[in-house]
């Protein structure tokens, strides 16, 4: 028996792969050896805190083997059986997409067809008539990632780019920069060295719309779980505010507050009211650092235009949270050293994905400012980031332009997309079906505040609409809102040709004309760093969510299974057929590209390429007296900013707002969007268009909360790994179908005659899903909880728009955005009704169709 050990990284953390005789035998967490550096130490409150000498994983990492050999792997290139290659692109039975079976094709046949269609469509309608997009994080590594080889290929081809939206933190992205800048961090706060600060100083943690044991710092595995246990041991009080008494709260919380969905901004305003009336805020700090605070205080105290004091009693009526509880939290927060925030890195969370999300995010920042944000123990920090790190060691993350084969220096030649037309992901179906769409902003607005207000129209004047769609990696069925619209889009003859390149036979792949089977990370070469999303763009230094900074040589454990191929191989082959093969590869194979990332990073100064490949990983380590750069301390204490990834304004002691201060009345909104009714100059709670005060609430009385999933990562595991179906809090298999758990309050259950374990239907005008009833006091009577990103989409009438047994919650969520000028999606602004449901026998399982597709 020949055993081989290789390494890789996935969204669940770094892994060590044992392969026996060419078959993957097991997947384990990374184990360090004696040559690896010592762990950092933090001295605080008479104790020494130090992490264990290994990295952690999350449950999705431990099923990577099963995901490789999964029953639903795409094995061969396939062509839809009723696809006809008509010369004009018409009459292609597009209405059967999602329903039709597939026939096996050879790679040559499939690639030749794609090349012919690409040429025909671009010749007929122009370069802009091809569009393409990828999912986030279905694989890991700087070579294969979407901003790398996919981007290189499509920039060379020329295509209508589809802008991503900040789908996990909309409210912070579109709101918070108007209060405290940090648009270059896409609205998120500075995490640097705040773990040490917390261990030394903090007494209360505000976990607002935050379930750290579930969202795990994004892709930081379970690295930070131990920190929160340390804080517990130190007697720190954890207050969880979430309509769902979430998994971290029921294990570690000291107090749970469950406001009505989407009303958190009112709760936050009432906290400010308590502080203002009791004088328990940092007046000196506010005097120095706040802009137009008095006008805002007038608004809170009822002296503003609405003449409504934002008293705890006022908030009780809106939120359902007792006024006494609001006062208690406000006083605890003001009288103890308090850190907190929202969601996985402090500027995320389900609340900011509601119609009121921008306002919530802005008031959150204002509350932390009122308590002297940046002073020891007073900060936006949610216990998931800010570990010690050697900031002088640089290896790029996936969003770093310098860490992509799409650009220099890793590539010799940087291709530039010659098409100016763009689309916007959230509303792609509207654009295709209605042939017209308008929106504001650049999707990810990390370049400036002004980027939030650019105007876009599709089709761009002088451009043609898109007629070919190339979809790569994973499924938006399950993550994008009003998913039935996506199904309708795919069935439209407007899309003459649809390609899907993926690893598994995912829900969305079943709508393609040609399916290309890509291989997993474990069947190809790549290179990447654990939890590094980029040190210059995105929310930089996300790897401070880890105890260790680890770069991994993502070695090939086995050869690609069946006829699957690496994404790089697939794009190279297409490039060759389209006449730019040599330009695309620059003569390099995958291993040669991997070496370039080593060469152009600090890794090459620390370890030779050969040693790195042999060992499989490199741990950067933290110097004993590492340079501290406490997030936001520079601002509170008035010294020149020294935090990594900072902007010139910070060196002058200013924030990234127009005034450089905390704007309690936003000058940027007054300047660029004075007519914005959603994101008003003074952030305030507003009843939402689909909330408890809307007319719709008469028909659909329950608010649906659908957070990021605990037992999956986006949609990337649930369909492929059946072990996940055996987790009782996740799914339950009934008659062969894995129904997703839907949580309802006992009062609702009694009213509707629903018992524990019954199959129930949750529905509204947009669609309906079936799931298994879990009756629990973890949700209030007005709320229903069901995780988003189901990963399984299994309509009861296969291929037709109908009730879904897979639990694709986003069939129910609205595609309406936050506001006319605020292009953020709001899955947690969804009203539904619920009923007990007897599943008719003819509904079948649907999974046999999936299996047929990959036979």
């Amino acid at each position: 028996m020949a055993e081989k050990i290789t390494h890789s990284i996935c969204v669940g953390g770094p892994i060590r792969i044992h392969t026996e005789d060419g078959v993957i035998r097991r997947v384990r967490p990374l184990v360090f050896d004696e040559t690896d550096p010592k762990p950092w130490k933090i001295e605080a409150r008479g104790r020494t805190f130090s992490p264990p000498k290994n990295t952690t994983v999350s449950l999705v990492a431990l099923q990577e083997k099963d995901r490789v050999y999964s029953y639903d792997r795409l094995k061969y290139p396939m062509i839809r059986e009723d696809f006809v290659e008509t010369p004009d692109g018409k009459n292609r039975n597009t209405e059967n997409r999602g329903k039709s079976g597939y026939r096996r094709a050879t790679w040559d046949e499939a690639l030749d067809l794609i090349a012919r269609e690409t040429k025909r469509i671009q010749k007929t309608y122009g370069k802009e008539s091809v569009t393409a997009i990828t999912s986030s994080h279905h694989s890991w590594g700087l070579l294969g990632y979407k901003l790398s080889c996919f981007k290189r290929f499509f920039n060379m081809l020329g295509y209508t780019r589809i802008m991503d939206n900040p789908d996990s933190w909309e409210g912070f992205h579109w709101g918070a920069p108007h209060t405290y800048g940090y648009w270059w961090r896409l609205g998120g706060p500075e995490p640097f060295d705040l773990l040490e600060d917390a261990l030394k100083n903090v007494e209360t943690m505000i976990m607002w719309s935050h379930d750290p044991d579930t969202t795990r710092g994004g892709y930081a595995a379970n690295e930070s779980a131990i920190w929160r246990h340390w804080l517990k041991e130190l007697g720190v009080q954890f207050i969880y505010i979430d309509p769902f008494n979430n998994f971290s709260s029921v294990k570690n919380g000291d107090k749970w507050i469950g406001p009505r969905m989407g009303t958190d901004a009112a709760l936050a305003e009432a906290i400010a009211y308590v502080w203002l009336t009791e004088g328990t805020y940092d007046k000196e700090y506010i005097e120095k650092h706040a802009h137009r605070f008095d006008e805002w205080a007038d608004h809170i105290l009822g002296k503003g235009v609405d003449r409504t004091p934002k008293t705890p009693k006022w908030a009780e009526e809106i939120t359902g949270v007792k006024a006494a509880d609001i006062k208690a939290i406000a006083r605890r927060w003001a009288s103890t050293k308090t850190m907190g925030g929202s969601g996985m890195r402090g500027g995320f969370g389900g609340v900011c994905r509601t119609a009121n999300g921008t306002e919530f995010a802005r008031i959150m920042v204002q509350l932390f400012a009122m308590q002297g944000m940046g002073k020891p123990g007073q900060n936006m920090w949610t216990g998931t980031t800010g570990a010690p790190m050697d900031y002088n060691f640089w290896f790029g993350g996936y969003s770093d332009p310098k860490s992509s084969i799409a650009s220099a220096p890793v590539a010799d030649y940087t291709p530039v997309n010659e098409v100016q037309q763009v689309l916007y992901r959230t509303n792609l179906p509207e654009a295709i079906l209605e042939g017209h769409y308008e929106w504001y902003g650049e999707g990810f607005c990390g370049g400036s505040l002004e980027q939030q207000f650019t105007e876009h129209v599709y089709p761009l004047p002088g451009c043609n609409r898109v007629h070919m769609f190339y979809r790569y990696g994973g499924s938006f069925f399950g993550t994008m809102l009003d998913t039935n619209k996506w199904a309708k889009m795919y069935k439209s003859p407007e899309l003459e040709f649809v390609v899907n390149q993926d690893i598994h036979f995912n829900p969305e792949g079943r709508f393609a004309d040609v399916i290309l089977p890509a291989c997993t990370n474990l069947e190809r070469y790549d290179i990447g760093e654990f939890c590094n999303s980029g040190n210059s763009g995105y929310q930089s230094h996300s790897q401070t969510g880890n105890n260790w900074q680890v770069v991994v040589f993502q070695d090939k454990a086995i050869e690609p299974l069946w006829e699957s191929r690496s994404d790089y191989w697939i794009f190279s082959q297409l490039a060759e057929r389209l006449g730019f093969g040599e330009k695309f590869t620059e003569g390099r194979d995958e291993l040669a590209w991997c070496k370039r990332f080593w060469e152009f990073s600090d890794l090459s100064k620390r370890i030779s390429w050969e040693d790195f490949m042999k060992k499989g990983y490199y741990v950067a380590g933290v110097p004993e007296n590492w340079e501290r750069h406490y997030g936001f301390r520079w601002f509170a204490e008035g010294y020149p900013c020294d935090t990594p990834n900072h902007k010139p304004c910070q060196e002058e002691g200013k924030l990234g707002t127009l005034t450089g201060k905390f704007e309690f009345v936003s000058e940027s909104l007054l300047k660029y969007a004075p007519d914005d009714e959603v994101r008003t100059p003074i952030a305030s709670y507003k009843h939402s268009w689909e909330g408890h005060k809307s007319l719709l609430a008469h028909r659909f009385p329950y608010a649906l909360i659908s957070p990021h999933p605990r037992f999956d990562y986006h949609t990337h595991h649930q369909q492929h790994n059946k072990w996940l179906w055996e987790i009782p809090e996740n799914r339950k298999v009934v008659n062969g179908n894995p129904y997703q758990v839907i949580r309802i309050n006992p009062i609702v259950a009694e009213k509707k005659g629903i018992s524990e374990g019954d199959i129930i239907r949750v529905y509204n005008d947009r669609g309906s899903i079936l799931g298994i009833a879990r009756i629990t006091n973890r949700v209030k009577p007005e709320t229903i909880h069901c995780y988003a990103s189901s990963g399984i989409y299994n309509p009861v009438v296969y291929g037709e728009i109908s009730a879904d047994k897979g639990g694709c919650t986003n069939l129910l969520t609205p595609s309406q955005l936050m506001g006319r000028k605020v292009p953020g999606m709001v899955p947690n602004t969804t009203l539904v009704e619920v009923e007990k449901f007897e599943v008719p026998a003819e509904y079948g399982q649907g999974f046999e169709k999936i299996l047929e597709g990959v036979k």
Binding site: L59, N222, Q237, V250, G258, A328, I329, F711, N777, K780
Partner: protein, 278 residues
């Protein structure tokens, strides 16, 4: 030398890493200590969870990773014929995959349901504590290695200085239902008992901070005292089961309130509003 695992429910967050690592190791792969675990349906590392509390005022979840306990005097060994179940010198209890063929009574004998019947192979099977890997030089079983929060600690129970022994000595040992009085090599720590809890308010929308709460059990003669915290909450955990408690809430300037509750399960007793003495 006696191998054991300490499982700390206070540390466990039910992340399911141990569950997944166990499946990754044993599903589809046989060893000399077991036939292959079927892909679905068996849970050698079973995460037992239950919700605590009957009202939104105080809800917790208990999480107890439950593999085979590797009893010192195993019921399955007694139920087995032909020595089909044996105890290794290191304490690990093994079901011999050949000798145990056809002996369904082995699966049925386990008081905690940790043995599974493989219908296809007609054999009982369960957690091997990764004995096959420990022999190959692995330092800990797969579940312990995968635990990100040090809730699972492996080591030599006979060595008082081992990490596992120290952990057990410092913790609150709870025996699983069905294994009371048994010595086991898997030791459960900090499994929650029963709590009674409540929140105390004052008129005028205020929480009552520092109210004295006394819980008296007449039948067992026990008295527990606590005070309400910054949120007006009180809670006493790990109470004796199935007892009636008389609860008194006292605060200076307010009339005392008397409540009662039975510890049949975790209860959030009441949201109490104190009335001032006029």
């Amino acid at each position: 030398m006696r191998y054991g695992i300490a499982i700390d429910s206070a540390r466990c967050m039910a992340c399911y890493n141990c569950f997944m690592a166990c499946k990754d190791e044993h599903c589809g792969y046989s060893s000399k200590y077991s036939v292959a675990e079927p892909h679905m349906g068996q849970f050698w590392m079973n995460i037992v969870e239950w919700e605590r509390g009957d009202r939104p005022g105080n809800i917790k979840v208990a999480t107890v990773p439950t593999p085979c306990s590797h009893c010192q005097d195993p019921a399955c060994m007694k139920a087995a014929k032909n020595g089909a179940v044996y105890k290794r010198p290191d304490g690990i209890v093994i079901i011999d995959p050949v000798k145990a063929k056809g002996q369904k009574e082995i699966a049925d004998s386990c008081p905690i349901g940790a043995i599974y019947w493989n219908e296809e192979e007609q054999v009982a099977q369960k957690c091997t504590m990764c004995a096959e890997l420990l022999e190959e030089g692995y330092k800990v079983p797969r579940c312990v290695e995968a635990c990100p929060n040090q809730a699972l600690i492996f080591g030599d129970l006979d060595d008082p200085n081992s990490e596992v022994s120290k952990k057990i000595a410092a913790g609150k040992v709870t025996q699983l239902k069905g294994l009371e009085g048994q010595e086991t090599n898997v030791v459960h720590l900090n499994i929650p008992g029963i709590f009674l809890a409540g929140t105390v308010y004052l008129p005028e929308d205020e929480v009552a901070i520092g109210a004295k709460v006394t819980l008296k059990c007449e039948s067992c003669g026990k008295v527990f005292e606590t005070v309400t915290n910054w949120a007006g909450d009180w809670e006493v955990d790990n109470l004796p089961k199935d007892k009636k408690f008389d609860i008194t809430i006292e605060m200076k300037g307010y009339r005392s309130v008397k409540l009662s509750a039975v510890t049949d399960k975790d209860h959030f007793v009441e949201e109490t509003i104190l009335c001032p003495i006029l």
